[in-house]
């Protein structure tokens, strides 16, 4: 026989069940809500992190290659051969190249600080192209450009600046390198993929040569290659720089480190997702539990409905839909909560906000599915209640 209860009416019948027990419905939905919130927040935060990373990689470029001499057996650094810059420039897909020379010159804020408390800041001798090649920005001032190369001025890496307590260049500021005073002309923004540069101060080749007798031999080479051929350049870089002993050159892509870090975070994200799923499971069981209780309490209602013409199927659908409504409400609250948490987190950490719509959609679908599964047993139980038993005094 044809079912006569209209879909719209079925919805209102189920909604009545939820509405007439608001407090309980709210408490029941919380489990699902927490689970969905956890899942949405975790995927949201991780997606935001990924989006931020992509933005960072895009701005920095994945086509940056860094080459330096392999650390020797006793920690000593081999030198790069003479004329190495020229050799690198002759590799076809190389677009830009620059070099720096690492020194062990001591950096101090003032001469009141002992010579033994350098604070892990290194002095890097550089030419003006470095900033362009590594894709850096200045938060303040200017970089060591050609005109400043011979003058005792310096630019601070981001971490260096905060370690030395220099946050603004509004007033003329000087620092001490070895025993010479250098005026600070600029502060770099965080470079992210070059933590070593963040912890450095930069001076020009001219002044390094005059004051400290540093020779111009590069210790690190930065290469920008045509993005299509990055892998190829990585392959030929070492043999080009040191044809006799290519294994003495260490070649790396700084973006790899970020990607590896991201991969580690993915594992952690999966763990959190697992925890969220457990919350969902518990939430589902809670709904099933409450629905079974509700069926027992509402025998009268079931009896009345059967006596006014409801079939078993209509009773089953009613309780199934009620369960789905409960979990759906939980899911919706969870999504709002999860989006809120993600928004808060991205605001707080100042990263790009990104939540994949597909994940939000699947979170809601998941909640509905759990509701449906949790509702199956109570719904069958409700439909099996004999009408005569249900209306018994």
């Amino acid at each position: 026989m044809k079912q006569k209860l209209k879909k719209k009416d079925l919805f209102f019948v189920a909604l009545y069940g939820v509405k007439s027990r608001r407090g309980r419905a709210a408490l029941t939905s919380i489990g699902i809500g927490i689970g969905i919130a956890a899942i949405v927040a975790v995927t949201g935060i991780s997606a935001s992190g990924r989006a931020d990373l992509l933005a960072t990689l895009e701005s920095l470029g994945t086509n940056l290659i860094k080459a330096s001499p392999q650390a020797g057996f006793f920690g000593t650094q081999e030198k790069l051969p003479d004329g190495v810059l020229g050799m690198v420039e002759r590799i076809g897909p190389v677009e830009e190249v620059t070099s720096t020379t690492q020194t062990d010159l001591l950096v101090r804020r003032t001469d009141f600080i002992s010579e033994f408390e350098g604070g892990g800041i290194s002095t890097v001798v550089t030419s003006s192209e470095l900033l362009d090649v590594v894709g850096g920005n200045l938060t303040e001032g200017r970089f060591i450009d050609k005109g400043l190369s011979n003058i005792p001025v310096t630019v601070l890496g981001n971490v260096t600046a905060s370690r030395l307590g220099i946050t603004s260049l509004a007033k003329p500021t000087k620092i001490l390198i070895e025993n010479e005073w250098f005026g600070v002309v600029g502060i770099l923004d965080e470079l992210k993929i070059h933590p070593d540069l963040d912890r450095s101060v930069f001076i020009g080749y001219g002044v390094a040569e005059t004051l400290f007798n540093v020779d111009r031999e590069p210790t690190t080479i930065y290469v920008r290659a045509n993005p299509t051929y990055v892998e190829d350049v990585v392959e030929v870089l070492a043999p080009s720089m040191n044809p006799e002993n290519p294994d003495q050159v260490s070649v790396s892509r700084p973006s790899d480190a970020l990607e590896a870090q991201e991969a580690a975070e993915v594992a952690f994200t999966n763990l959190l997702l697992g925890l969220g799923s457990v919350a969902l499971l518990v939430g589902g069981v809670a709904i099933a539990n409450v629905m079974v209780m509700s069926v027992l309490e509402r025998r009268m209602e079931i009896g009345v409905r059967r006596s006014i013409g409801a079939t078993r199927k209509e009773i089953r659908y009613q309780f199934l839909l009620e369960s789905i409504l409960l979990s759906g409400a939980g899911g919706l609250i969870g999504v709002l909560l999860g989006v809120g948490v993600t928004l808060g987190y991205t605001n707080y950490t100042n990263i790009v906000f990104s939540i994949p719509a597909l994940e939000v959609l699947s979170a809601i679908l998941l909640a509905l599915l759990i509701g449906a599964l949790s509702g199956v047993y109570p719904a069958i139980k409700a439909s099996k209640i004999q009408p005569a038993e249900a209306v018994r005094k």
Partner: protein
């Protein structure tokens, strides 16, 4: 001139045994014919099988033995779905404890009586309003059950049974939870309905009420004794 009324409900040696242990024979081999327009009261001690009998007539309970014909149809061979729809269309139930849904207004409660008939909500509410006016509750449409007196609640329940315009009204001690005045009121509503041609079967403890009925079925231990 009154034509001879036809038999609309025919019980043929029906029995009901509740599986034990020990098994209880609640209704024991009852045969009974109820004619169109009958006003029947079922009386008997607690546990004499009155409610079981009424539930079997109302198709809420299954038979262990025997057969029931309603309007010439053998209902004992009907599927559960068919029984549900048959109840919905032909039989109106009134219960001792009213059984109104607490979260719905009087009008909505009455309209629920038509919920499973495929009738639109506006139409259901319209018909509910009409029936509530008929039982004298035209001014209580928007009241929740808890805002109504016992007598009023039972009148809402009566309206719910009537809204589907059933051929039969089955009432299980509808006055059992009411004071005398409210009980008499319900009874006069039922008698009025009977005058309009409805077949009414009512369980009662109240012998005064029973006396007013044309036909009295007395049960002792699941058997008809009078």
């Amino acid at each position: 001139m009154k034509t001879k009324a036809k038999t609309v409900i025919s019980l043929k040696n029906i029995s009901k045994v509740y599986e034990g242990p020990p098994p209880v024979k609640a209704v024991d081999n009852i045969s009974l014919d109820i004619k169109e327009g009958d006003l029947v009261s079922i009386v008997g001690q607690s546990g004499s099988g009155k409610s079981t009998l009424l539930n079997m007539i109302g198709l809420l309970d299954s038979l262990t033995e025997g057969a029931i014909e309603i309007e010439g149809q053998d209902v004992s061979v009907m599927s559960d779905n068919e029984l549900s729809k048959f109840r919905g269309e032909k039989i109106g139930f009134i219960f001792q404890s009213f059984f109104l849904l607490p979260g719905l207004t009087a009008q909505e409660n009455v309209a629920e009586g038509l919920l499973y008939q495929g009738i639109k909500r506006e139409e259901r509410l319209k018909r509910a309003k009409k029936v509530l006016q008929d039982v004298g509750l035209g001014d209580r449409l928007e009241h929740l059950p808890k805002e109504l007196s016992g007598g009023e609640q039972q009148r809402v329940a009566v309206a719910r049974a009537l809204v589907q315009n059933p051929a039969f009204v089955l009432a299980d001690e509808p006055t059992g939870n009411l004071d005398k005045q409210s009980g008499d009121n319900i009874l006069s509503i039922l008698k009025e309905l009977n005058k309009q041609g409805k077949t009414i079967i009512m369980i009662t403890h109240n012998l005064d009420h029973a006396k007013k009925f044309k036909k009295v079925v007395k049960l002792v231990d699941g058997r008809v004794v009078a």
